[in-house]
Amino acid sequence: MTEPILAIEGISMKFGGLHAVRDASLTVESGRITAVIGPNGAGKTTLFALITGFQTPTSGRIRYNDADITGRAAHLLARQGIARTFQIVQPFAGLTVLENIAVGAHLHIAGRAAALAAATEVAKLVGLEPILQQSAATLTVVGRKRLELARALATSPKLLLLDEVLAGLNPSEIRDMLPVIRAIRERGVTILMIEHVMQAVMSLAEHIYVLVEGHVIAQGPPAKIAVDPKVIEAYLGAGAAARLVGGANGR
């Protein structure tokens, strides 16, 4: 076990009467890829908003590198090395791809020329290099997802939160993105990802948390999660696990 870079302790978030996240605890080990999965509406994106300072939890604590960061503003967390992508992509549509990435690079680089150079380097890593001068408004879905990734990476994060970067991509585009995400991890960036594309989660993640109705119902390595009856029932309905097992036995 390496030491945790992020530790979430009993966090809850209420929107009026709606409990989006209930007493969730999870730990992200430094240098690994950790995934959060769960059905729609399970509170995954809210969890990301809490970690990155876009929302303040109703209760509970978030620790990052052993410091309490609960409720700290988003831009301050970005300066400390927490970067995120958005599930609904948020490009700076009026700017070029290069200018978009440069905004991220400017976090630690004051000079314009140096920031543009750093942005170009990041663009190479995620495969955006051929379209640097294109307007972000003209990008395809996969281009926008790559841009989200590039912009976040340009801030040189220690912890990168990826909110469904593979959603909406076709199988060959997903195949192209997997090595990009692995390469980011190889550079020493810890990754916490929300993902619905299961074969990607199973091949990328070293540890998985399953969030259902705001609760963490299971956690463990991918092989264990795939056969966990609680997880199967959360996705397929009560009794599904028993039916699946029964079906297997009957055959």
Binding site: A74, H75, A78, R84, E99, V103, R112, A152
Partner: protein, 329 residues
């Protein structure tokens, strides 16, 4: 976005500086002075609205504060016009910072921000029209004291060069912003505030800085107005006319471009004069024409004349690509 350095600014300013050497007509020079005055106020609006995406309807608050501060310091406290001018700019910037500090941290955006800035300008106008310090309903007259020492140039040409110098400074500041980290952050906030925050941009602080610079430019225009006409009252200094013209110039010329306000100011002043000639003595009809032009500009060239020109050039180079980008946008 044009990133062509400072050469175009030097060229344009040099060309404009030559005009009084060729034309000595007071009517023409007076027209150009008012156009440059509007350019300065419009450039102020452009920094906040064009680059930062925060559309203010109340730049009169800064224009008027600059004008009143200059006039009051001279008439009531006997200060020399030059330091009064500088303090007027500082006072306008201060009001900008104050209004920004009251609005941005509470997350006021879009039309709400526009309405609040309009309200501030109106409140200041009403206060100025009843307070003895500002001359209440009578207004303030700055004593005639011709000479460069009192910033009252005897000829129009000298005034023209003075306002041209101020515009040149504003153009250079705008270009510097465009090429700096601050400018990148400012446009990022305009395009998407949440995404900007996730990349470490302190959106509130960036907007506050932009508003302060913006207000300083509008205040400089107000200070100049007071020195040039030597008279101000509440409807002039804090009236909606300057708020409207300050936003019209960059919108017509091209928001978020260095030369947009200059282009737009020259166009709407030319058009304003032409409209007055055409409509003759019917009051208000020229303003109706104004409105029609604004609607046409927003409809035909949403990015102003500068943006329209760039699109035309791009279209000549590659028509299909422009059509594609137009649909995507």
């Amino acid at each position: 976005m044009s990133k062509s350095g400072f050469f175009p600014i030097v060229a344009v300013v040099a060309a404009l500086a030559c005009i009084p050497l060729v034309i000595s007509s007071n009517v023409v020079l007076n027209f150009l002075v008012t156009a440059l005055l509007l350019t300065l106020a419009g450039q102020g609006w452009n920094v906040l609205g064009g680059y930062g995406g925060q559309y203010s309807f109340g730049h009169a608050a800064f224009f008027g504060t600059g004008a009143y501060a200059t006039a009051i310091l001279q008439t009531r406290y006997g200060l020399n016009a030059w330091p009064a001018f500088a303090l007027g700019i500082a006072a306008g910037a201060g009001v900008g910072a104050m209004i920004g500090a009251l609005t941005f941290p509470s997350g006021l955006r879009g039309s709400y921000f526009a309405l609040v800035t309009l309200a501030f300008a109106e409140v200041l106008r009403i206060i100025a029209s009843v307070t003895p310090m500002t001359g209440a309903g009578v207004g303030l007259l700055i004593k005639l004291d011709l000479g460069a020492r009192a910033l009252q140039f005897p000829g129009r040409a000298a005034f023209y060069w003075f306002i041209l110098a101020l515009v040149a400074v504003a153009l250079v500041i705008t270009r510097l912003i465009e090429q700096s980290r601050f400018g990148a952050w400012l446009t990022a906030v305009r395009e998407n505030e949440d995404a900007a925050r996730s990349l470490g941009v302190d959106a509130t602080r960036v907007k506050l800085s932009a508003m302060t610079i913006s207000a300083a430019m509008a205040a400089a225009a107000g200070c100049f107005y007071a020195q040039y006409f030597l008279f101000i009252d509440a409807p002039i200094a804090y009236g909606p006319w300057i708020s409207v013209e300050a936003l019209l110039a960059p919108i017509v010329g091209g928001v978020g471009t260095v030369f947009g306000p200059l282009l737009g100011a020259l166009m709407i002043k030319t058009f304003g004069e032409a409209a007055k000639l055409v409509t003759g003595d019917v009051p208000g009809l020229d303003l109706v024409l104004y409105g029609v032009v604004l609607i046409l500009v927003v409809g035909v060239a949403p990015r102003g004349v500068a943006g329209f020109g760039a699109r035309c050039r791009a279209w000549l180079a590659s028509p299909q690509k422009v059509a594609r980008e137009g649909r995507a946008a």
